[in-house]
Symmetry: C2
């Protein structure tokens, strides 16, 4: 069973966190049957945390969890903080395949999305 | 003459700012002939500023400038700060059409990009 966990920074502005949760729901609706579980989690300032989000996926039966960093640049959060949190959960659950997808800002498709909203 | 100005937050980490500049170059390469000028600018912490970026587009002959917020959520920067800076430049140059495109995180195409990098 596959799970997709969208990981965002988290904000003091609750509406921004809710935008991420809504995005996870849209992903669930668009992913057809690729993922049995599509969730969101936050590095800080909002809940659930990344470990809690991963655990929730596992509790629902996931044996493969894809963590997708919803970040625009490959800063410390993407390069160090998220991998560190994922590593801890991977050690706890060696039988689960937990891997990190490329961060959003590095996706080549961003260019087309930007041109589509610019015109 | 049309210009596209990608506006990002700006970071103390210069590599993140350079990612945005590189994105603007990729946009230029993918936009065919829609824009005669594709630039980047930053709300804070990096150069050029938003007014400088808009001015640069005008100096190059733009009579229409599309400001595209490279942001993931509709927080204060997107809702207040960027419009305020654009408004000042619009007042300075009433003959130029300066408008703000939707911010990246609100684009429906983001969902497809995320699914493409997740799998």
């Amino acid at each position: 069973m596959k799970a997709l966990l969208v990981v965002a920074h988290g904000s003091r502005r609750e509406a921004s966190n809710e935008e991420v949760r809504e995005l996870a729901r849209r992903l669930a609706a668009h992913a057809d049957n690729t993922y049995d579980c599509t969730e969101s989690a936050f590095l800080e300032l909002a809940n659930p945390s990344i470990p809690e989000g991963i655990q929730h996926c596992i509790d629902q039966g996931a044996d493969e969890v894809t963590v997708l960093p919803y970040f625009l640049s490959a800063g410390r959060h993407v390069v160090e903080d998220i991998p560190a949190e994922v590593h801890v959960k991977q050690q706890e659950h060696p039988q689960i395949d937990i891997h990190i997808a490329p961060y959003l800002g590095g996706a080549s498709g961003i260019v087309d999305v930007m041109l589509s909203i610019a015109t």
